[in-house]
Amino acid sequence: MKILLVDDEAEFVSALAERLSFRNIDADWVTRPEDAVPKVEETCYDVAVLDIKMPRVDGIELKKRLQAKCPDLKFIFFTGHGSEEVFKKGASEIGEDYYLLKPIKIDHLIAKLVEIEKQKGGVFDD
């Protein structure tokens, strides 16, 4: 499966992408939310994992833009910011289950990805 990671923390997102690749998940990443749109236009991803708090465009706004480009795209949010408003906004957008709080356990993330894959009816090629 192909996923796109969007987070302004390059150190975090690069390491995460590399770790996912060890687990046979093809993960691309961008640090600027603006760069995510062309990425989605280029490639068809299964899941986009977005940070909610990002400069200029927040995760929720980005989700809407990406969804416009690629309606089949599924989303997972993660954030280090757990304030009430952000949690409410994020959870209502996507459901509490796909709202992950940093630091995340990689196994937990993978479990969520598997869940999405199953819902899509696809086969997870592990």
């Binding site: 923390e9 280090g80 304030s83």
Partner: protein, 586 residues
């Protein structure tokens, strides 16, 4: 004392435990005292002044009325007495003018004249004629006095000087009081004679005795030496000396008040009767005269006392009630202010902890991923795969990150929960979670925490966040009381089909019996100045009530305290939106 302390209003012993500038608007005791004083003064002083004015005015009016009456009685009586004497004198004058000296010298004629006088006027006893030598030349009456020489008698000389003489009363014939009237008459040849008559005074004794004198009164005549001339009721027998000093001479009727002690005050009216040695005296008992007035005054005074008592009670009651209401309102105001303050503080704290959590979470996430990546590299690369030490180190880093993550998550959770959200809540889990907050402190202070939760406690319908706050407050509260090395025991059980009970028992310093009732009152704190706001338990109380439960406290000084929280298993509390009550978190 218990009765008094029951009456004592709440504000009286109010101690401003959170004293600070602008905290309290009122000094209740001072307000109470000032208002009570002012109200009492303005309501009671006029009453007293009115009563006093009435006392003086009515006293003086009654007094002058008495004096006026006495004076009138004296004048009238004097007129009667004078008239009686003048009448007798006029009779004698008439005889002198009507009869010749020669005729009067004849005893038989004199005898007939006396008889006529007795018939016409009454009271005449004898009649005699005395010539210019002072010898009684003719006499008719019960004594044999013809030829008696009066030339040396004082009365003879008096009669010569003044032309008329009226004697003092003396006890003469048959021991009946008499007076003598002698009138001088000049003869054509330059000589003169006296016609002398003895008159019994029964008539004016009767006159005086018949007078109705109020106030245990007495009416009588005295002479200038103070000897009684007529009998008196209270002041001695006839001819005895009176016990009152003879009043000074006055042309007119006089009234005097003589004070001879509190029970012997006499109102004395007197008048000198012209051309006689007599003084008319009318004596009244002042106390008896004033009795009706005194009785009225007693009634007024009684009424005054009742009024004052009622006023005092009403004022004390009313003002105490009002000041207490102000006090209660002020307490509510303060509580609200504190709650707002506290809510603000908690909101800031929430924002702060959320901010901190966020700031820490991102680097933590990086550490997590980097460490994870290293682990992955080791795992997927043969070279380091079998180096347990390196794997151990990496695992240790990841575990630490997980611990940090748990802490930041807890901070975020703490800042969340604002609405009542009724969920299935596992009380055991909540207790466990709460103890997680204080785990470090209990370790440092070596406080032994025992948790005994009955396994049959069901999940209850409640608000997890509030329950957490309640338990956290109780644990924090217990920790404040526990000394180093003490213990806290938390037990939970299902007591009946509807309720579960959680006990927090510490072995700290305990709460005095007198304070137990007050521990849930806002601002009641024994930790004043040591970080306690006195709000923790009151907020806890409020929270437990919001959850439909109850909280109770049992304690003995020195033996610790037990707080018992009873919670309903199925709540009927509605979910509501609204600001979370601030929690005590120290």
């Amino acid at each position: 004392m218990t009765f008094l302390s029951n009456l004592k209003p709440k504000f009286w012993d109010h101690i401003d435990i959170s004293r600070g500038p602008h905290k309290y608007l009122f000094n209740f005791r001072k307000i109470w005292k000032l208002t009570v004083l002012l109200t009492l003064v303005v309501s009671i002083i006029p009453l007293i002044i009115l009563a006093m004015i009435d006392y003086w005015v009515s006293y003086h009016s009654v007094m002058s009325e008495n004096i006026l009456r006495t004076s009138r009685l004296v004048s009238n009586t004097r007129r009667s007495v004078s008239y009686f004497l003048d009448e007798r004198k006029a009779a004698i004058d008439f005889i002198i003018l009507n009869e010749t000296y020669e005729l009067l010298n004849s005893t038989s004629h004199l005898e007939r004249t006396l008889k006529n006088l007795q018939k016409g006027f009454g009271g005449f006893i004898d009649l005699g004629v005395i010539n210019d030598k002072g010898v009684q030349i003719s006499y008719t009456g019960p004594y044999e006095l013809t030829g008696k020489d009066y030339s040396d008698a004082t009365w003879f000389k008096d009669a010569l000087d003044k032309g008329v003489y009226i004697s003092d009363v003396f006890l003469g014939f048959r021991n009946i009081p008499h007076i003598i009237i002698a009138v001088k008459h000049a003869l054509p040849d330059g000589g003169f004679y006296l016609l002398r008559a003895t008159i019994d005074t029964e008539r004016f004794t009767d006159l005086l005795a018949g007078l109705h004198v109020g106030g245990d009164g007495d009416a009588f005549l005295i002479n200038r030496e103070g000897d009684l001339q007529t009998p008196s009721r209270y002041h001695g027998e006839i001819l005895s000396n009176i016990d009152i000093q003879t009043p000074e001479y006055s042309e007119r009727s006089q009234v005097e008040l003589i004070d001879r002690g509190p029970n012997n005050r006499l109102l004395i009216g007197y008048a000198y009767i012209h051309e006689t040695p007599f003084i008319l005296m009318i004596i009244k008992n002042q106390n008896r005269l004033m009795a009706p007035w005194y009785e009225t005054q007693m009634q007024i005074t009684g009424f005054l006392l009742i009024s004052i008592t009622t006023t005092v009670f009403v004022i004390l009651g009313g003002i105490t009630y009002l000041v207490n209401q102000i006090y209660l309102a002020d307490q509510r105001r303060l509580q609200t202010m504190h709650e707002i303050e506290y809510a603000n503080k908690m909101a800031s704290l929430g924002r702060l902890s959320a901010g901190v959590a966020h700031e820490i979470n991102n680097p933590l996430a990086i550490i997590n991923e980097k460490a994870g990546l290293i682990k992955d590299l080791f795992t997927f690369t043969e070279k380091y795969n079998n180096d347990p030490r390196l794997m151990g180190l990496i695992d240790s880093v990841i575990r630490s990150v997980e611990r940090c993550g748990a802490i930041t998550r807890r901070l975020l959770n703490f800042a969340r929960h604002k609405e009542i959200k009724i969920h299935e809540v596992d009380v055991r889990e909540v207790v466990h979670e709460v103890l997680g907050f204080v785990g470090k402190e209990s370790e440092y202070r070596s406080i032994d925490i025992q948790v005994e939760m009955d396994p049959d406690i069901p999940e209850i319908k409640s608000d997890q966040g509030r329950l957490q706050e309640v338990f956290l407050n109780l644990v924090t509260n217990a920790f404040a009381a526990i000394k180093e090395g003490g213990s806290l025991k938390i037990t939970g059980a299902k007591t009946d089909k509807d309720y579960i009970v959680v006990d927090f028992t510490d072995d700290g310093h305990g709460i005095p019996e007198s304070d137990i009732e007050r521990v849930f009152e806002p601002f009641f704190s024994t930790r004043t100045g040591k970080g306690g706001t006195g709000l923790g338990l009151s907020i806890t109380y409020g929270l437990v009530q919001e959850l439909g439960g109850t909280i109770k406290c049992r304690s003995k000084v020195g033996e610790g305290a037990t707080f018992t929280v009873t919670l309903p298993i199925a709540t009927d509390v509605q979910e509501k939106n609204g600001d979370k009550k601030p929690s005590e978190k120290q």
